[in-house]
Symmetry: C2
Subunit: 349 residues, 2 copies
Amino acid sequence: MLIHELNGMLVKTAKGTKDMRALWFEKGVVRAIDQRLLPGTFKLVTIRSYKEMAKAISDMTIRGAPSIGAAAAYGIALAWLRGEDLDRAAKAIKATRPTAHDLFYAADLMLFQRDKNLVGAAGEYADGIVDMCRRIGEHGGKLVKDRDRILTHCNAGALATVDFGTALAPMRVAHRAGKDIFVYVDETRPRLQGAKLTAWELLNEGIDHAIISDNAAGHYMKDSVDLVIVGADRIARNGDFANKIGTYTKAVLAKENKVPFYVAAPASTFDSSLIRGEDIPIEERSEDEVLCLGKCRVAPRGSTALNPCFDVTPSRYVKGFITERGIMKPDEISSMKATGPAIYRGPAR
Amino acid sequence: MLIHELNGMLVKTAKGTKDMRALWFEKGVVRAIDQRLLPGTFKLVTIRSYKEMAKAISDMTIRGAPSIGAAAAYGIALAWLRGEDLDRAAKAIKATRPTAHDLFYAADLMLFQRDKNLVGAAGEYADGIVDMCRRIGEHGGKLVKDRDRILTHCNAGALATVDFGTALAPMRVAHRAGKDIFVYVDETRPRLQGAKLTAWELLNEGIDHAIISDNAAGHYMKDSVDLVIVGADRIARNGDFANKIGTYTKAVLAKENKVPFYVAAPASTFDSSLIRGEDIPIEERSEDEVLCLGKCRVAPRGSTALNPCFDVTPSRYVKGFITERGIMKPDEISSMKATGPAIYRGPAR
């Protein structure tokens, strides 16, 4: 099967299985799956302005670095369509979340093309991301052997990347190629994107999996996990990368147990302006995400929490970066900086 | 301040601060703090028979290795008091949970003394545990320096050990000696004993702390944590030990970041019959603990979970065992096997 014939994310609805993206442009508005409600409720939201888009990124209706990149592009396209100030729109969108590089990258690319049809440019940006994710799947799929047990953290699936996924793309490709795989899904506290979103994608896809508490990853890394694949929110020039809090822990466990640890990410996640991982800004989110489960407080009144949303993993823990260009070693990463501009020319063929 | 003058667990109630144990014998019944309801509700339960005690251990009304050891002793004392078959009582109690050594140890000690007053013997057993915990605090407190930032996992406090705590005992002693300490409290999914119980104990004690998601431990281990102290559920002869799932992960993170990693445990937790950690039976609990938060399912219907309650940490990660006899290196552990029988002769002086 050729990779370009592959469907993207399969979503099972009451009306059957649909091939669907996490967000898309449609008749002057953006439609997006509300990721806060999954897996209990599948609901599409309509976003009509850059302000609504900034809110959707802030409140994590749309989340995942490549998806919020596309959301930024679409948000600025909405501003363009309504004749609004593009710089103001870009500023508002960039102020939503600090860590994912894609957000800033996509916004700047839109501003760079301000004399074009930005609805078209945003669509090309999103298509470019999807195309890169397919290629990540194609390259990464070769790393996955029949009967492999793979651990992943958070959600780096189609929901996080418009379609197909970064970390999940190699698993989709391997599964569709008939390989028998099993996925350990870190539940990924505090927001449980693993238990809620990754499990939902794997279930829709028919990929065998089990959710584990983040605490159990070490136990299974000792003798059951063959491969770890995670996504990234921002990758510095030396290959250090930020990803969901807990990623560093899995990288250390993988090293200790000699389990290959891969990072899957498209060019939009590579930030050539940062020399080292320590320079990546880390978002601190509300302590209520830790102190409460849903609306119910679990911690004693009077206790506080610290809630960094991301951590930084040094490149020495990474066996390879799975990119649209192939598998790259950490020391090959600096060459990625030249790839960016290709994105907004649309999918490479 | 002499260690024997120290209070045990301080519990703030509407009627003021009380010095209280996790469980105790009182007028023919056992009274225990219901640990499932903390920190939201402080409630004492009354346990009148070994069957009720077995249920209280199974459903985790009483939890923590030394506390369930005391619960086992009290449970068999209740059977003795009612003239019931002691072997049957011990069998039922031993069948509740497989991992903590204290449970089996305490039950066997009671059977060994079957011709004595077992209410007295159980009380002496509990007093012995509390005395050991005080000594653990005394020895371990010396490891804690002013301004230390300490990470702990799960709850190895007074609730888990009848009084005072194992991992928390050195922190109590350091705090009461006027040292300024800060504790990173792993929330400890899936049952959140850190966020619920350890935070509650530290808050009552006035010790500065913050709850973190288990995923954030690595982030803080990189440059903020000075010391890790955890408890244990069973320690094999080579120093490998079982403790709450996620402990192995913290040990690996500590090693990687050169943070000293200590295990605090009384003699009742050392199992001289097991040569290696791999021989420790690991309890697998209901997948609902992972798939649901309280009664609310978070994972998609159709997804499954794996839920090992404990993991095994090899002794090479342990800088020292904090015991009632002092700080011991892993290779000194085998000598602990001789200490057991001293317990039921009551507190050593």
